[in-house]
Symmetry: C2
Subunit: 418 residues, 2 copies
């Protein structure tokens, strides 16, 4: 078994955390922003220092490759992203990049023999913070469910509301052109030149920490549905409308939310569901709301549980406190299972390294889930302190990060041996 360097990993964490430092322990590092370009520059410098070859494709995905002893064989790629959400943490995404760098550095440093080309890769715009949708590049390249030009030219005017990012009306395409990292389409990840993809990532939840486990051996990304629930009332004056004449859409929405909690709590205990977003019109304290909509995101591995969720939504009472209700599906994804053979390499590596571990699924979406549609793919999780992620207190210790990189290294070498 090989192990990665705690000292080198600690140094990378410290360095990368400066790029987009928001001043209170976390970062804001939108894709292709000056801060993200600093992180890319650091990646390129360190990878060139160990003799890796740098390439980038037309979506600015960035590849650093150490040639194998049989360089014509399809290679093995380790990838994640270096962009963050607004006021995000120092680990989501960038840990997978640093882990991949660490694997190549360890291979170079210890002169570890390998047949296949080994590539560390940065996916562009995983978060979609400034340019939705999330997982844009892996979506375009591995699982093209939206026409590419729609993605690249997408203007998300609504971002002004939710993120206060003032240049949100610029297109991603314009940012791509200006980045200096727009390369050749022929360089894209594909399933002829590459045989497998691994992604190291923080768990972003509390399960590993609660169980006291070092490593999560990821088996799948949960299937999900996302609905918009709508409640229609009547706007009237808060001071002049007796209670009995009211059709209060916000009170109606609150009743529907309670119905959803009551019914969904009866389903499988592994189900997670969330109302994260609410919109109230006209949202003035002296006016009874006439329209409220809110999101419902529900995730579970088993399609039959997701079907039960959909049933609950379909059974929302058509009228609540004199308000009409309606719902609309926003999107859906099936559970994506990772490649059994790659999962077994991860499991064997963890066991051989002697780290405590468990099988786990991913409730969050990752580029690996789109990559899995194109080539054998899997993921490795390390714990998130207090389960926090997408926020500045997000934390995984350097020791845990290094353990994750060591698992990645050994799993990649098992894959290389086949």
């Amino acid at each position: 078994m090989y192990e990665c360097s705690l000292e080198r990993m600690t140094d990378k964490i410290k360095t990368m955390s400066q790029f987009g430092d928001a001043g209170h322990g976390g970062i804001t590092r939108y894709s292709l922003s000056p801060e993200a370009l600093q992180a890319r520059g650091e990646f390129v410098r360190r990878m060139e220092a160990i003799g890796a070859t740098i390439k980038f494709d037309d979506m600015a995905n960035l590849y650093a490759t150490l040639p194998g002893s049989e360089p014509d064989l399809p290679g093995i790629v380790m990838a994640s992203h270096c962009d963050s959400v607004k006021n995000g943490g120092n680990y989501d995404g960038i840990l997978g990049v640093m882990g991949a760098m660490e694997v190549l550095e360890t291979v170079a440093d210890q002169n570890i023999p390998h047949k296949h080309n080994l590539t560390a890769m940065i996916w562009t715009n995983e978060e979609g913070s400034l340019y939705p949708p999330a997982m844009m590049s892996s979506g375009v390249i591995c699982y093209d469910y939206l026409p590419e030009d729609i993605r690249v030219n997408f203007k998300h005017e609504d971002m002004l509301k939710s993120t206060s990012v003032l240049d949100a009306t610029k297109t991603f395409g314009a940012a791509l052109d200006a980045s200096g990292y727009k390369g050749d389409k022929a360089n894209r990840l594909n399933n002829k030149d590459y045989k497998a993809m691994f992604e190291l990532h923080i768990e972003q939840g509390p399960i590993l920490e609660a169980a006291g486990n070092d490593i999560g051996v990821v088996t799948c990304v949960l299937g999900m549905v996302n609905y918009t629930i709508k409640v229609y009332g009547q706007s009237d004056h808060a001071g002049t409308t007796p209670m009995k004449y009211r059709q209060d859409a916000l009170y109606g929405a609150s009743k529907v939310l309670q119905y959803l909690h009551d019914e969904l709590d009866k389903l499988d205990p592994e189900l997670v569901y969330t109302t994260g977003e609410i919109f109230c019109h006209p949202n003035v304290h002296t006016v009874i709301p006439d329209y409220v909509e809110f999101s419902l995101d529900a995730r579970h591995e088993k399609p039959e549980v997701i079907e039960q969720v959909v049933k609950v939504i379909e059974n929302i009472p058509k009228e609540v406190v004199k308000c009409k209700t309606d719902y609309e599906i926003a999107w859906t994804r099936d559970t994506v299972y990772y490649d059994k053979e790659l999962v077994s390499y991860v499991q064997e590596s963890v066991d051989e390294l002697g780290y405590s571990n468990q099988k786990i699924n991913s409730g969050a979406g990752h580029d690996a889930q789109f990559a899995a549609y194109m080539l054998p793919t899997t993921m490795v999780f390390v714990p998130s302190k207090d389960g926090h992620s997408h926020c500045e207190p997000e934390y995984t210790s350097p020791e845990q990060c290094t353990q994750g990189a060591s698992v990645l290294l050994n799993a990649v070498l098992k894959c290389d041996a086949k």
Copy 2:
């Protein structure tokens, strides 16, 4: 008894409805906007045409006066406003101005003798749509609870969020300077030169219509409290956080809202309370909300009922679904009773005219409520179709508007006779 002219009132409604016509039956006419200046111009033209003298004060309040036979006696003023909310109706405010014009026109046309000077007046910026707070000018002049310079120089950055008005960062003071209606402070309404104020207004609620009454004899403006209720949770990832680890501030807020409805519904049936505004952070569909606040506006004539409301708020459970709760008072006003003698003139006039009527209170705020702190004041209400107001379907028939003006005329003449 005298009656006003249906034909002339109909013509005024038609004319005034053009200024700020939003294209679907209502208007957007912010205070001191070009549209509001058109309405003022129309007021001045029509008032000069009957020989009225025009004056304006330093807050751009506009006065048109027909001299009485004893012009040194304190005068009688009839006032309302010509500004509207965004996509408001053709009656809120402007009806009181048109009613006052109609009274002067009838007096001039029929040569009705009167001892006191009679004044039709436009209050500036009653709605506060673009420049909060509402009832700004009457607040400054009659009930100066905020230093005048704070009001006039107030920049309400938050308006960008709620109204999408792009020049909301301009001050009211700048708009005042540019209006051409900024006059002498000595011209302000006061209780030496004026003995009484009347305001004709639409009810803005469903009570008169439901009772089949033509006229509401207004006795008071309801006391109110306005609170902000706060719920603190923990932001975590929607896909990776098992339900049992969650502190969901939006679900907590929905529980608190239900508690408030349950408890407040036990109090006096005349109580009205409203949650019109909600703010959810970060308001992203994939993130569990960590902070939600919402408004609670409650109104009742009796202070003891308002006290019970405050008790209910104080008894909100400190912790709901693992979220901490808190509350903050935003503002409060005591019930304002109108002048008994003026109310009796209105009641006698309605009875003599033979219009069906009832005593009513005002749940909404009006300039008259601030004026009442300075000089004897009262109001007259006419019905609102379906109770709607502050929206484009707001409607009161020309016949009802004219009835309101006739009541105003006769009540003013009774006041003149004393």
